[in-house]
């Protein structure tokens, strides 16, 4: 299973790296959400957004900090989950020791 998972992960990395190689150093790689916003203003040049975000990250550094925080929180919890599951499933497989009151899981 490890081999298969590593192959799958390698395919994910390849899918992310291939566009960078195909387009070379001069592609913009701008976000599709932003492109849709530009398309709206092309279709309807008179449209004025009627609401603005309550708070905008003051710089792109702060924005990437918050995106990294979002990913780190998620990855941290996922790592905790799988670490815990793996330890518990190893305890389950071990012959139970003669300690009274020991009940795995």
């Amino acid at each position: 299973m490890l081999r298969r998972n590593l192959l799958l992960l390698a395919a994910v990395v390849a899918l992310a790296v291939a566009p960078l190689l195909i387009h070379g150093p001069h592609a913009a790689f701008s976000g599709s959400d932003g492109q849709a916003e530009q398309l709206i203003t092309r279709i309807d040049p008179g449209y004025v957004p009627w609401a603005a975000p309550l708070w905008v990250p003051p710089s792109s550094e702060i924005e990437s900090l918050l995106f990294a925080l979002q990913a780190a929180l998620g990855a941290g919890l996922l790592g905790y989950y799988f670490g815990r599951r793996r330890a518990l499933s190893e305890l389950d497989r071990r012959p139970s020791p003669d300690v009274p009151g020991h009940a795995p899981d």
Partner: protein
Amino acid sequence: MHIMEGFLPATHCVGWALASAPFVAAGAVRIRRVVRQHPEVKLLLGASGAYVFVLSALKLPSVTGSCSHPTGTGLAASLFGPTVTTVLSAIVLLFQALLLAHGGLTTLGANIFSMGIVGPFVAWGLYRGLSAAGASLAVAIFFAAALGDLSTYVVTSFQLALAFPDPAGGVAGAAGKFLGVFAVTQVPLAISEGLLTVVVMNLLGKYSAGELSALSVLSRRSA
């Protein structure tokens, strides 16, 4: 798929919010029931939400020369059902609207509808259907996660086309243009999400067999 703050007419914002609200409510009720009946799956529910957090934060380059992000909703939808995933998506979208100025409060209903409702229902339906048709777990979860991801972006395209019909081509013409921005870019990302979710499912199958069987009992009862 994040429609920016103020970028939908007010009537559309209200309409999408009203359409999404019952699914959020149903999901909240279902989460309470799942956690009460099967307390052992609480941490797996958290981990499924964490997966949405991670994947929707990753902006990846695509073959079109632009960037977009996966949704991560296929895993939770396949394990816990679509409405539970609606609640998880709503939490992520609220976080991004308030702290990242990504999406918005006025467009929250529309964004929940694409990422938290249509995507998870497509994923859940494919996971169930393919499993019932005898597909392997890996094949079922791959197509569920990949097409759930892609369908979210198709919905966003139509939401924007309804709000901003093309002067020449109407709603259909605008849909074509928005699909050109979102859907093509999303194809390789959807494949990546499918592959990653197969990896997570492989790990769950190895280490979390007990929780998975508790959940399939649960979904058989309420399906």
